[in-house]
Amino acid sequence: MSRKRRRRPVRRTRRAMREISVKVPLLARVEGEGALALTVRDGVIEALQLRIFEPPRLFEKLLEGRSFEEVPDIVARICGICPVAYQMSACHAIEGILGVAPGPWVRRMRRLFYCGEWIESHSLHIHLLAAPDFLGYPSALELAKEHPAIVRRGLALQGLGNDIIRLLGGRSVHPVGARIGGFYHAPDEASVRALRARLDQAAEDAKALVSWTASLPLPATEQVFECVSLRHPDEYPMNEGRIVSNRGLDIAAADFEAEFQERQAAYSTALQCLHRGKPYLVGPLARLNLNADRLPSSVAEHARASGIAFPSYNPFHSVIARAVEIHCAIVEAAALLEGYAVPEQPFAVPSPRPGVGFGCTEAPRGILWHRYELDSAGRVVRARIVPPTSQNQARIEEDLRTELAALGADSTDEALKLRAEAVIRNYDPCISCATHFLNLEVARS
């Protein structure tokens, strides 16, 4: 290898004797700011660090002393892409403490709210962040020049997801509709009809999207890893269920801390969540691997027809899993809106009491676990939040080691870099979320 060219001013490539060092100082097309450092000596990967230099914003501490009623609005601010997930995990945890039972209307609308977020977040990821990798474009804008219909379809789905969130939340980023006990506002029937009218076409678009993702030139690989997700007795999991895995785990959200521990890796100062000391996968591929039998039948049939069998242990199939989940969320949304009626009051009234509660829901990127302790006035005494990206962090590094070794550590720096970036993006890491718990040195040189 004798390459020493600079493709972009911020990318540096250094070669010293038989040691190569690949640095990607700022990862493109991920949510938040992260970097990768890789050292290869004599054809062997010696050091590999997924660095996250987002500064922590210390949400767990700033929640202390706040009233339970404020929690959904505060935790939404952890992530602009998945605020609904934060609101839902918080609502469930706090309602558990207060003994509030919001009833079937709220339950349905929360599931619809979540469908919106999955559609929005997955569509954004597939088209703006991931697809350019698989088709060899630097960005979605370049991709759109040659594949305008594909990108337009993706953006329309993303827009639909945002509109579903808006129906219940007023806006799609930091929506204002959710409250402990339910929603502040029930959509009127005309708005619901207008949205419902778009879903049949959207389901067709989602089917085409599933087929398209299944036809992408994805790297062929098979890895061994534990998948962790929620599982519900009869639904594809979003808001409710037990935490299960393909290795026999089956626990309630309240027992999370006994099985999962966060630890600090000495080399990178990252706090990583491990299951009994081992990396594991959360997110769309893990969910689909564990819950393919819970998909609506039309979604399951179309997924089968696409030719990719789930469970799959090719991490790159995550992009197909996302498309299948978009299809699932659209079909679910249509079912949830059948027979819609405006309720007398869209929330149950909570009143403060002390206690400890747990909430675990399926954020677009995987299980999002919350624990709150409230005092008798309903103020937060302590909060703990474990987001999906800190759970996937160790798995991403494990995947990078496997994939880069398979590619051949003596590949060109550029090839290693491109594959590494594709591997990382494939997990859709949400670095803003993760950083409230990951502490990484700022190592920008």
Partner: protein, 259 residues
């Protein structure tokens, strides 16, 4: 006409204000003949040190590295625009500024706090460098961002109205949640721009667009007290998403320490 060179930079934030653009990519594409995105990492363009006509900044300054980065960025940007509550007012994370020692919070969350490189406080961009235009909101509204881009591309100073949420409610003919329902609405002191979403949903505004141009926080504090809110609850109304914005910070701290 040369295209406007634009960059988007992230500091301490949730990424939500960049979605003002990422949720409107079709509109971003339509700008292609007038606007060139030079640096916008999430969209795929990485060139953080390039000189630009307009730099949009999301997020607050909360680490020593960010302090250096914002100063460099200012040198490279002809016009610097902050987007959102974090960049414009320090964000909700500025609540740690109210602690006697923000490091205690770090120590409470991280097993090895020494690894966390944080400034003592989270501040608005304007604390460190001159800002040409501040767009408020948590999150900022897409329409605000696009109209700023259009105006700057034409060489016009963007409008940035500072009236209150009340004005929006009146125009929209919303029922006043403060007067009619006794809800502790922040609308009278909060900048417009969101479309009065909360009052429209029958809930009290929680001030996520920051202080309006003319804030009478004393009168609103009295009103909140007459609704039965105690000093702590009143302080929390002001010390929330925009806790470090001048008029809200003053009102919040005043409520905490009643004479």
């Amino acid at each position: 006409m040369a295209r406007l060179r634009v960059s988007v930079h992230k500091f301490s934030s949730c990424d939500g204000c960049q979605l003002a653009l990422l949720n409107r990519v079709e509109e971003v594409m339509r700008l292609a003949d007038r606007v060139e995105f030079v640096h916008f990492a999430e969209l795929g363009y990485v060139d953080p040190d390039a000189p630009v006509d307009v730099a949009f900044v999301e997020g607050s300054v909360s680490t020593p590295e960010e302090e250096i980065r914002i100063r460099e960025l200012r040198k490279n940007a002809r016009t610097l625009v902050t987007i959102g509550a974090c960049a414009t007012a320090g964000g909700i994370q500025a609540l740690r500024n109210l602690q006697t020692d923000g490091r205690e919070w770090v120590a409470a969350i991280y097993p090895s706090p020494a690894y966390v490189s944080l400034l003592g406080a989270s501040h608005a961009i304007s604390r460190y460098v001159a800002v040409d235009l501040e767009l408020w909101g948590c999150p900022v509204d897409s329409r605000q961002v696009f109209s700023a881009i259009h105006d700057l591309a034409l060489g016009v100073r963007p409008l940035n109205p500072g009236d209150s949420v009340c004005a929006t409610c009146k125009r929209e003919a919303n029922v006043c949640v403060l007067v009619a329902h006794g809800e502790p609405c922040m609308g009278p002191v909060t900048r417009s721009g969101c479309g009065a979403l909360c009052p429209r949903f029958g809930r009290a505004c929680y001030g996520c667009y920051g202080p309006s141009e003319q804030v009478n926080s004393v009168a609103l504090t009295q009103r909140f007290a007459s609704l039965g809110l105690g000093p702590e609850a009143i302080a929390r109304r002001f010390l929330s998403i925009n806790n470090a914005a001048g008029p809200f910070a003053e009102a919040g701290l005043r409520a905490k320490e009643p004479r």
